[in-house]
């Protein structure tokens, strides 16, 4: 039977020759992830199971990234639960402050995920690793606890939706714009319970960092996972990182898709999602009248080196608008160091921005840039829900790093061309 790559990965992990959408399977997991918000709940549930060991010390990743470096006593207590658990059970991939990063930037970078893997994480953006041709999906803390004990998870095989992008990408249009545009087209439940498979020449042309951005936001369309075909860029990325063996799965040409979409990207503008849902998407030129107070460049969506380079290209030799606060948050220590060595950090600081240690921080309204009543931010993050970055009456506009940087300069939402001119 013809299968999609999602179905093939699920079948392989369920020890079956084939699976069909809707089928219930018990699947072996290659990696289980938790963070400083979700893992404490999982650890509490794990204790109730009454086992004295985890299924595999090397296949659990614990990343304190949300409220860290800890912003207050309560969050310090939560992070300590992870640290203590990691020591007690000898968890190999526990990432301490100073060696950590935002989980979904960190795990691929550290070579903990490869093509063909099945990964679950107690974090909804676990779907990010689909960029590597893995099946990965977010679950809850109790699921995480069960998987830490059994090395298994119950899953319903999702129907697959295919998103085919053709044409060549205009300047300043990247993965973030493609995924925002897509969510704008299908809505925040447009892929509910489904697998989003991203294909086409425009997708092949994307960097790995852009693909991570797209897979990351599959959840914002309600999807179970997002997934990309494995190509030479994928293999180049895992080269020298991945410590385990891997397997490349490809969708069969006759595989069944519940629905197929085709998008011509040649004329796409950079996209912006207006408050308070990621589906409220407009081309940037329609929203340049929105004045802003803050710009956040970072998060598991756009905190990677390509994002920082793009922002720096726009900010180089320019100043952040006097009425705007620019906060730049590299996704991991490695990205931070690289940005430092490439001179990007200097560019941000000279422009009048702050550069933070890796953290989720303002993305979820945790710390490091919370907004007051009535304030507006352009953010390269993934959610613009009510109260997501602070006061319930503050507003978040989602965009890619180029629009975010241009907006920081202009003090209002802006197309990068307004800053750089048309020849870029």
């Amino acid at each position: 039977m013809a299968m999609t790559m999602t179905e093939k990965i699920l079948a392989a992990h369920a020890g079956k020759k084939e699976v069909k959408p809707g089928e219930l399977i018990k699947a072996r997991v290659d990696l289980v992830l938790g963070n400083d918000i979700t893992a404490p709940v999982a650890i509490k549930e794990f204790a109730k199971i009454g086992t004295d060991q985890v299924f595999d010390r090397e296949r659990i990743a614990l990343v304190p990234d949300h409220f860290t470096p800890n912003k207050d006593i309560k969050s310090a207590e939560q992070a300590k639960i992870l640290r203590d658990f990691a020591r007690q059970y000898g968890i190999v991939h526990y990432f301490e402050i100073g060696r950590m990063g935002i989980e979904h930037c960190l795990l691929p970078e550290q070579g903990l995920v490869g093509p063909g893997d099945l990964v679950i994480g107690a974090d909804s953006h676990t779907c990010t690793y689909g960029a590597l041709g893995a099946f990965s999906t977010g679950v809850g803390s109790t699921d995480m606890a069960a998987a830490m004990a059994l090395g298994e998870v119950w899953l319903k095989v999702p129907p697959s939706l295919r998103f085919h992008y053709y044409g060549s990408l205009p300047p300043w249009v990247g993965g973030k714009d493609l995924i925002l545009y897509t969510i704008g087209q299908i809505g925040v439940d447009g892929a509910l319970y489904s697998a989003m498979e991203f294909t086409g020449e425009a997708v092949s042309a994307l960097t790995m960092d852009d693909r991570f951005t797209m897979a990351n936001m599959a959840i914002e369309a309600g999807a179970k996972n997002g997934i990309f075909p494995v190509d030479e860029k994928t293999l180049a990325y895992i080269e020298g990182r991945l410590k385990r063996s891997y397997k490349v799965y490809q969708s069969d040409p006759e595989a069944e898709y519940a629905k197929e979409y085709e998008f011509d990207v040649s004329r796409l503008e950079p996209q912006v999602a207006l408050p308070h849902l990621p589906e409220n998407v407009r081309p940037v030129s329609e929203v340049t009248g929105v004045y802003i107070d803050q710009v956040v460049i970072g998060s598991c969506t756009n905190g990677r080196i390509k994002d920082l380079r793009e922002a720096a290209e726009i900010l180089k030799g320019r100043k952040v608008h006097p009425e705007v606060r620019l906060i730049v948050i590299p996704g991991t220590q490695e990205i931070y160091l690289q940005a430092l060595q490439e001179g990007l950090v200097a560019i941000f600081i000279e422009a009048g921005g702050v550069v933070s240690t890796p953290t989720c921080g303002p993305c979820l309204g945790g710390h490091m840039g919370i907004m007051a009543r009535g304030e507006k931010a352009v953010a390269t993050t993934n959610r613009n829900f009510i109260g997501r970055m602070g006061h319930p009456e503050s507003e978040v506009y989602l965009a890619g790093p180029a629009v975010a940087a241009a907006s920081a300069v202009k003090g209002r939402i802006a197309h990068p061309k307004e800053v750089l001119g048309n020849d870029h």
Partner: protein, 164 residues
């Protein structure tokens, strides 16, 4: 199990940041969290909700983050059941795993108003509007979910598997 209680109405796409804003997630204590349940969506709710009451909402309830704190908070606030047109998938899993009853019943969502009293038979997926006597049917749980529910949640289920 029979649940009888008054209805609180909410709209479509009620996300987990509305259910419990991340600014309160520096704790995982359900009682502390419950004091802020849905406060950005309806500040009245958390002040007035009584144990045993019911949430009726639109489509895609619980979208957004994977935080299990969301169903935990709703449960700790005293809500006995959430009825919606559809649930976001992680919220759905989490609710089953922690034992918060949820039902998908589009017709009920269309017709039931805030303040109405419903009587719900969970096993049968039957919802009765007490005042009008109207009966609504909820979509049945898929088989594997039913196994977890019967075991009393995912953890008791895993415990029994490990001891076998």
């Amino acid at each position: 199990m029979i649940i009888k209680g008054k209805v609180w109405r909410f709209g479509d796409n009620i996300d987990t940041d509305l259910i419990i804003p991340a600014r309160y997630l520096n704790t995982s204590d359900p009682k502390e969290l419950a004091a802020h349940c849905l406060e950005d969506a309806n500040p009245e709710f958390v002040r007035k909700v009584q144990p045993g009451e019911i949430i009726v909402a639109g489509k895609n309830f619980g979208c957004g983050s994977s935080r299990e704190h969301a169903p935990l908070t709703i449960k700790a606030a005293g809500i006995a059941c959430v009825i919606a047109v559809s649930f976001a998938r992680i919220f759905y899993r989490n609710a089953i795993n922690i034992g918060l009853p949820i039902l998908e019943a589009e017709e009920a969502v269309r017709e039931v108003r805030e303040g109405a009293v419903l009587e719900i038979n969970l096993e049968e997926g039957k919802i009765i509007h007490v005042e009008t006597g109207r009966v609504y049917r909820a979509a049945p749980f898929p088989g594997f979910m039913q196994e977890i529910i019967t075991a009393g949640g995912l953890i008791p289920y895993v415990r029994s598997r490990l001891s076998r």
